[in-house]
């Protein structure tokens, strides 16, 4: 079992997702369809026994990536490979085959639990579908609930979602995903509504599962500290682009991309005196994303080149695997070849 650690489960290559925006009266005449560039050219891999954290701006396309991976959206371009095989399923048995291996925890526990079903139903289904009930369903249910610290299980098992607090719902959603016993888990802000102590418990649980069952986890979060503690790798998203990636400790402690730096700096920290200089600027519009590097309008280190050319992934060199998409790290001699091919969206 353990020898499988590190094996690539899910691989994402050049994934893009554009949502068309409805044209309104006047624009109908101009005939130019606009779209929200929610995700552009995203590539990364999920490995067994690894947690990949995805942090980034709100609205930068993290949930969209997760949904793409769960095959709930279909990519505008790029591909997703499961165990090396390209997948693009829209339903049917192949889809179920896929979700048996890849499960998703939705960001919003207020929306992702069906209001007419009890906790029991949600969990039973997940166990049943994937054949994990193994005889003693009641036992399995209790165990699932206990795992996510909804104890005593009897108290929660027959509740409807509206009878639960936000954190409790979130844990039901986690339990549901765990019930399927997947190989890869796409967790979209799974613990955002949990208090730190329970959050710790749940993260420990995930880590434990990861280790024992060789789970590959995509952990989407805004809590960078937890990414540091919990994730092996971290990628940073900004406006639909991946701007930095590397192992968690490096990315959080030695952020390379100006946006990541901003992110780390902004993380609340009671020990640090409040800073005076707030970096302002607005998040970019994804309908008309900025030319060149999407961060350029807000970047303190902006250069002329940033406004025209899209930076490719550039190795930082401090740690293996640490990269950032920023011209700051470009070796001026070798002009990145990738620039030409990356289409400038507009």
């Amino acid at each position: 079992m353990t020898d499988k650690t590190g094996e690539v489960v899910l691989e994402v290559d050049g994934l893009s997702k554009h949502f068309p925006v409805r044209r309104k009266g006047r624009e109908l005449l101009t005939r130019k369809a606009r779209s929200v560039h929610a995700v552009d050219d995203v590539s990364f891999t999920l490995r067994r026994g690894h947690v990949t954290a995805m942090v980034g701006e709100s609205g930068s396309g993290k949930s969209t990536v997760a949904r793409l991976l769960a095959q709930l959206h279909h990519p505008t371009s790029g591909e997703i490979r499961l165990h090396g095989k390209r997948v693009n399923v829209r339903g049917g048995r192949r889809f179920r085959e896929y979700v048996r291996q890849v499960q998703m925890i939705f960001q919003d526990p207020f929306g992702s639990l069906n209001p007419v079903h009890t906790v029991r139903y949600h969990l039973t289904r997940s166990l049943r579908i994937h054949g994990n009930a193994n005889g003693n369903l009641e036992e399995a249910l209790r165990e699932l609930l206990t795992r996510v610290q909804l104890t005593p299980p009897e108290r929660y098992i027959d509740k409807f979602p509206h009878e639960l607090s936000g954190g409790q719902r979130q844990r039901v959603a986690i339990a549901r995903a765990l019930g399927a016993n997947p190989e890869a888990l796409l967790a979209d802000e799974p613990v955002s509504m949990l208090d730190v102590s329970i959050r710790l418990g749940v993260l420990n649980l995930l880590r434990d599962l990861k280790e024992r069952l060789n789970l590959a986890i995509l952990y989407i979060t805004h809590d960078i500290a937890s990414a540091r503690y919990f994730a092996d790798d971290t990628v940073v998203m900004y406006a639909g682009w991946m701007v930095e990636g590397g192992d968690s400790e490096t990315v959080t402690q030695k952020p390379a991309h100006p946006y990541t730096q901003l992110l780390i700096d902004s993380a609340p920290d009671p020990d640090r005196p409040p800073r005076a200089d707030e970096v302002g600027g607005e998040p970019p519009s994804l309908i008309r994303p900025p030319q060149g590097c999407r961060f350029n309008p807000r970047c303190p280190h902006v250069m002329a080149r940033c406004k025209t050319e899209l930076p490719p992934r550039l190795e930082i060199g401090d740690e293996p695997g640490h990269w950032a998409a920023c011209w700051l790290y470009a070796d001026d001699v070798e002009k990145p070849a990738a620039v030409g091919s990356a289409e400038v969206a507009g």
Binding site: H18, F19, P20, H74
Partner: protein
Amino acid sequence: MSYLLRRIAFYVLTAWAAITINFFVPRLIPGDPVQALISKQRGQLNADAIHSLYVLFGLDKQDPLWHQYVEYLGQLLRGDLGLSFTFFPSPVSEVISTSLPWTLALVGVTTVCSFLLGTGLGVLAGWRRGSWVDLVLPVTTFISSVPYFWFGLIMIELLAGPNSFFPSSGGYDPGVVPGWDIDFIGSAVQHSLLPALTILISSMSGWILSMRNMMVTVSSEDYITVAHAKGLTDRRVMLGYAARNALLPNVSGFALSLGLIVGGTLLVEIVFSYPGVGFQLFQAVGAKDYPLMQGIFLIITLSVLAANFIADLAYLVLDPRTRKEG
């Protein structure tokens, strides 16, 4: 664009299927127009007349059915609906055009009224769930579960009569000549009151019921609580938030019922001797007047499809979530 084209193709296909069914189904009924006529006359038509009728209607030569079908489609494309048997040799289009305005006016106006009233009451009943307004529903269902011909007959018995304001039948006074004058319109309105009331009362509760149920469902959504929290007036929350969202199924129902207007309300028209399409259709079925039946079916088909299309569009406008994205 391609979406629109796809929709149009879809509707054309549906129309064709419906027209085909409408062509074949009536022909499955045993008997033919001549026999129907003879049965109807019960002996007042001499057996000798039968032959002349077959010749007259062009039924003496037996074309294979598919041949007739192809011919019919060809006719349709030319915009020709054929000649009615019952009103031989009046063209079907003429027969329909004399009765359609009546139905459109009577059923159209009442459908709209009934929808508006019913939905309004439904909104109230759903919003004030558990209060006395709950009574509205059983009462209206009671009224609307009464067969409306029954209701119409009772109304005629109670309200209409020689010296009553309400005439018991017809579309206008016998002496009046149709035209856009005050006499005719006044008389037409007067004649439409009772049938309109009958349709209104008997169709309203459906709207109330469905609206109420949707209101109840919607009113437990989070955004309603938020709307309350925003301190919006009760009216605003009820109408702008709850009703606006609950309205969706009713809107498509309404669009559908608009499409069915042209079909008329058969029995009301029969009971009140109203010169509308529904009555015409009933007659046509009885008389096996295929061309007329088909003609009426055709306009029903077209208007229902049109209404359906409108319903689709209305949904797109009213519920952004249903719009196709990605």
